[in-house]
């Protein structure tokens, strides 16, 4: 039997027969083993050209000033245009809720067609204590429950902090829709896969604003990079008192609300 190690300087001590055989078997198996566990990190580094978008340099978030929202619903409409969301009034990546808190303590929440066609403004039949609009969307949690429950790894958080869905590998089991505490996901009736807000990932990676932020007429929505000290979002979080939705669930949302009422869930 030919020993491949014979010429190496390490082979000086006498090698027993069984060890020699083991080395021989191992030297045959090792390349196959390595083929399976491909050295992915090296590949990823080699694939990245200079000057291209690098997800590791960013970490996105959104700020929402509740007191500035006028409930025009342009954001929800633009979102459907930009992301090809079904027009039926059951599917939303973002939507507006109208809160009316009566003097009797009762809270009414409505969101006709997500607020896209405007809200039917009627003279309220009861005395109002407080009332306001709240834009809602995926909170892009730092610890997303939807990612935890996906059985096939088809939903995930990217390096720049956006939770996305892999359309080709989603099996449409709806676990993530159940797990989302914010009701931000839906099953696309055409592809039968989970669908959700991507922070307009295809736009922000090219330096554009998400569609909802682009069209918000009052600046109630602010988008920015949490890794940048001088982004509009950094300023927003520095000068406002910030609340997130359902903080007790420890999902650590990256959608930050200013002037949020405790009635908002």
């Amino acid at each position: 039997m030919d020993n491949p190690k014979r010429n190496s300087p390490c082979s000086e001590p006498p090698v027993s027969d069984s060890r020699r055989e083991f080395l021989h078997t191992f030297s045959l198996a090792a390349p196959l083993l390595l083929l399976g566990l491909r050295i992915s990190a090296v590949e990823a580094l080699a694939a990245e050209p200079e000057g291209a978008y690098n997800a590791r340099d960013h970490y996105y978030g959104m700020g929402i000033d509740v007191s500035k929202c006028i409930g025009c619903g342009r954001c929800a409409d633009a979102c459907k245009n930009e992301n090809d969301v079904p027009r039926e009034p059951y599917y939303f990546r973002t939507w507006i809720e109208r809160y009316v808190i009566g003097a009797d303590g009762e809270t009414d929440v409505d969101s006709p067609n997500g607020g896209i066609g405007g809200f039917t403004s009627k003279t309220p039949d009861k005395e109002i204590l407080r009332t306001f609009f709240v834009p809602k969307l995926c909170n892009q949690c730092t610890d997303p429950p939807c990612v935890q429950v996906c059985p096939v790894g088809a939903t995930f958080a990217t390096e720049d902090g956006v939770v996305l869905v892999d359309n080709d590998y989603c099996i449409g089991c709806r676990y993530c829709i159940q797990a989302c505490p914010y009701g931000a996901r839906f099953l696309d009736p055409r592809t039968k896969t989970a669908n959700k807000c991507t922070f307009c990932y295809h736009r922000v990676t090219k330096g554009l604003l998400p569609a909802c932020v682009e069209v918000c007429p009052t600046g109630a929505r602010v988008f920015g990079d949490l890794k940048q000290r001088n982004s509009p979002l950094a300023r927003f979080t520095r000068f406002n008192k910030i609340m997130t939705l359902k903080p007790h669930l420890n999902t650590k949302p990256k959608v930050f609300y200013a002037q949020l009422d405790e009635e908002v869930r």
């Binding site: 198996a29 083993l33 399976g36 566990l37 405007g118 403004s121 996305l164 295809h202």
Partner: protein, 242 residues
């Protein structure tokens, strides 16, 4: 080498090679490159088409309108809010024209009266506000101005005007309490009206010794919660006291 160990080694080798081969065919190609997901899925999402070009793209050609718009009250309203997604227009400007809403239905999406809207945001009642006439026949959407300076404060402060109208203060003009500079009507967010500062202001009608009609409710300025300002308990636009 014993027979047992050589057989065990063979089994182990078959298992390892089998696992490696199965993994090679079952795990997607780009899985694990950046994390516990398929990197190709991120690239596919990045390549999705853009529909909204962004206001900077509009400014490249429509310089005149942008110059006017960027100084006007609608400066924070992006072009595509009203004209719709225009990325296709930027690619073939001659063939695809973005629409412009000219009907009465569109403007009230923002400017129709709704008590939930923030106070001071300009709102009208679409039913009674010049019915049938198109909004753009009086208002330039790129640089909207009220066709004439609002005569009544209620034109903007509708919620306050509605509360006051049914309150005991209905007869009082707004300027009775709010000394309002003329410039507030032109640049409402830069020049603010004054507000009363002290108890004595309310006392000029409601104090025991005030020179005002007898029907007006009187309080004793010394004993009636002297440490508080009146509007800490009473909302002046709809006073609760009786």
């Amino acid at each position: 080498m014993t027979q047992q160990s050589s057989r065990l080694l063979l089994v182990a080798a078959v298992l390892i090679v089998g696992l490696g081969t199965a993994r090679h065919f079952l795990v997607p190609k780009t899985f694990g490159q950046r994390g516990h997901y398929r990197a190709a899925a991120v690239d596919a999402i990045e390549k999705l088409p853009i529909r909204y070009a962004g206001r900077e793209a509009c400014a490249l050609c429509h310089t005149e309108i942008v110059a006017m718009h960027s100084k006007a009250r609608h400066q924070s309203v992006s072009c595509e809010v009203c004209h719709g997604p225009a990325a296709a227009h930027t690619e073939s400007p001659a063939d695809i024209k973005p629409p412009a809403p000219r009907t009465r239905g569109y403007c009230p999406l923002c400017h129709g009266y709704d008590p939930t809207r923030p106070t001071g945001f300009p709102q009208i009642d679409p039913v009674t506000h010049n019915p049938v006439k198109a909004c753009i026949s009086c208002h330039n959407p790129h640089a909207p101005e009220p066709p004439h300076t609002p005569e009544e404060c209620g034109a903007c402060h509708g919620q306050i005007a509605r509360s006051k109208a049914v309150s005991r203060h209905a007869q009082l003009a707004c300027v009775q309490c709010h000394n309002t500079p003329e410039k507030h009507k032109v640049t409402p967010r830069l020049v603010h009206p004054e507000k009363p500062r002290d108890r004595e202001f309310c006392g000029s009608c409601h104090a025991q010794d005030a020179r005002s009609p007898k029907e007006i409710l009187r309080i004793d300025m010394q004993s009636h919660n002297a440490r508080y300002l009146c509007w800490q308990c009473h909302y002046p636009h709809q006073p609760e006291g009786d």
